[in-house]
């Protein structure tokens, strides 16, 4: 295992220490692993909390700040945080108008946030929850855990954060979040596995001439493995299921996201392929993100997210955001 770390068990807290030092605009609790804004938003506004396993940086901690999250709860690497910590974060940022929990659809995240919401209600804090499940690589069904929450989480946190910032109430913010989740889809692939520090070796073996299509963000193997292909073919394999499942044309916000070890030069190349395919499918990219936004430690690969956009979403997208991981208009 080749990593810039000391001991595997200290990675999270030592990294959070760096976040604290590098970002005086954030408060980082090294006990609970909760990151909040140093300056809380005004009383009476809905607060937005997200969290999940670590190893996906900048998600979620890098998205705390004006116009996006109020708090992020960092679990151990690839492990959902515990309810007490989510509850602590929720309590810390509640400004009397309720709190939205943004939860990626994994059993662990759903259960822990559910328990946290129960704890928060017991203390009289109103909690709304959106479960993000945008990954078209996973067959959805009533009888399964359903789709995973992946790239759309980034876009949703930005948009919902903007709505909360402009003073929308909890019901509207929750409704907005559900709506966004309904009209966004993602799909990812990996060229290499990632290595969880505590495991010390790659989660799966991927031969030099193979790739995994339909990968998640936790080093889970994907839906299938196949021979390496050119970027144009990879783009097609990511875009086609998204387009088919989304079943919309018109304007869209699109993200081409790196899994952590893929250089920008490749991501922009992929973006060109993706944008061309979307155009052919009648989807017009009106806003885009290209870069590492929701990663999987040191995995090489990428994911594509497409969110059908409308004027309201574009207004919220263009609203100022000031976080370490996403910043504009400020």
């Amino acid at each position: 295992m080749k990593k810039l770390i000391n001991a595997p068990e200290d990675v999270l807290v030592e990294s959070l220490r760096g976040v604290a030092l590098a970002h005086p605009e954030l408060s980082v609790d090294l006990e609970t692993h909760v990151i909040t804004r140093a300056t809380p938003k005004a009383q009476g506004k809905v607060a937005v909390v997200s969290g999940g396993g670590s190893g996906h940086e900048p998600l979620h901690g890098g998205f705390v700040g004006v116009g996006m999250l109020d708090a992020a709860v960092a679990g151990e690497i690839f492990t959902s945080p515990t309810p007490d910590r989510v509850q602590a974060a929720t309590k810390a940022v509640d400004r009397g108008a309720g709190v939205l929990h943004i939860v990626k659809n994994y059993t662990g995240d759903v259960l822990n946030f559910e328990m946290a919401a129960e704890l928060a209600s017991m203390e009289g804090i109103e909690v709304g929850t959106v479960i993000v499940d945008d990954d078209v690589a996973v067959q959805d069904s009533l009888y399964t855990a359903g789709r995973r929450g992946v790239g759309l989480t980034v876009l949703l946190e930005k948009l919902v954060g903007a709505a909360a910032e402009e003073g929308q109430d909890l019901a509207s913010v929750v409704a907005l979040a559900q709506r966004i989740n309904g009209q966004g889809r993602s799909m990812g692939m990996a060229l290499t596995s990632c290595t969880v520090p505590a495991a010390g070796k790659p989660t799966f073996d991927l031969p030099d001439d193979q790739m995994e299509i339909g990968i998640g963000i936790h080093g889970e193997p994907g839906r299938h493995r196949e021979p390496l292909a050119p970027a144009s073919e990879i783009a097609r394999q990511l875009v086609e299921p998204i387009v088919a499942d989304l079943d919309r044309t018109g304007p869209a916000i699109v993200m081409v996201n790196g899994m952590g070890a893929t250089p920008q030069i490749e991501l922009y190349l992929m973006y060109a392929e993706v944008a061309a395919l979307l155009e052919k499918a009648g989807i017009e990219v009106v806003r885009s993100l290209v870069g590492n936004y929701i990663t999987s430690l040191d995995m090489a690969g990428c994911s594509v997210t497409v969110l059908a956009a409308d004027d309201e979403l574009l207004r919220l997208w263009d609203a100022p955001v000031n976080t370490p991981g996403l910043r504009w208009g400020v």
């Binding site: 396993g53 679990g75 151990e76 690497i77 690839f78 492990t79 959902s80 945080p81 515990t82 309810p83 007490d84 910590r85 994994y106 059993t107 662990g108 259960l111 822990n112 559910e114 328990m115 990954d135 690589a137 996973v138 067959q139 009888y143 399964t144 855990a145 995973r148 969880v196 505590a198 495991a199 989660t203 799966f204 998640g216 936790h218 080093g219 889970e220 193997p221 839906r223 299938h224």
Partner: protein
């Protein structure tokens, strides 16, 4: 000697479970690497270490307090899917047991049944979904059966451990429908479920603790 277990045996149980998790950490991690995210060993190990440390600093004197302390510690130290699920198991066991000093075989079986029901209520997994339920349910069924036929605690928990192992092995060919392994679809077949594997360690530790106490 009456055929009951007290708090000391419960402490011995969770301590043995901690040690067994530590010994089998790599195995659990490997199982979770194949069809999950390679953290089940670390998760359970973190949780059980916290549980035993907690009990060492303050050992409750009643069964329910002890089980609830175990459950709360798991909930607040593990995270992931296994944290709330294993945590719920112990929390519900505590509620079922009540503020007593000892549990007989029927009491233990009832408590574990309540625990498993709690897990199902939280996780909504059914038998055959390739989750820890597939080891847990047969184990508790075996315990119930032992109690029905009037077996002692030692026999009944040994039978439960055997059933858990069989249940774990039954997950091998299954296609997962719950948890992280479900994302793999057909590719999840041919691997043991990591949670079912840790459950066998739980019942082995229980049988060993009971045997050690008798």
């Amino acid at each position: 000697m009456t055929d009951t277990i007290g708090t000391a045996t419960l402490v011995d149980w969770v301590t043995r479970f901690r040690d067994s998790i530590a010994e089998n950490r790599e195995w659990l991690t490997e199982l979770d690497s194949a069809i999950g995210d390679a953290d089940h060993g670390a998760n359970m190990s973190r949780g059980m270490t916290a549980v035993v440390d907690k009990l060492a600093s303050a050992t409750p004197s009643t069964i329910d307090e002890l089980l609830k302390s175990v459950g709360m510690t798991l909930v607040s130290s593990v995270g992931g899917a296994s944290g709330p699920l294993y945590g719920t198991l112990f929390l519900r066991m505590g509620v079922s047991a009540g503020a007593v000093a000892e549990l007989d075989a029927a009491g233990l079986a009832a408590a574990l049944r309540a625990g498993v029901d709690g897990i199902v209520a939280r996780g909504k997994a059914e038998a055959g979904d390739k989750t820890l339920i597939d080891a847990m349910s047969p184990a508790v069924d075996a315990l119930d059966a032992g109690v029905s036929r009037g077996a002692g605690l030692a026999d009944a928990t040994a039978a439960a451990a055997k059933a858990a192992a069989a249940g774990r092995d039954s997950t091998l060919p299954l296609v997962a429908r719950k948890g992280r392994a479900s994302y793999l679809g057909e590719r999840s077949a041919g691997h043991l479920d990591p949670g079912a594997a840790s459950v066998t360690l739980l019942f082995d530790a229980l049988a060993d603790a009971v045997a050690g106490a008798s």
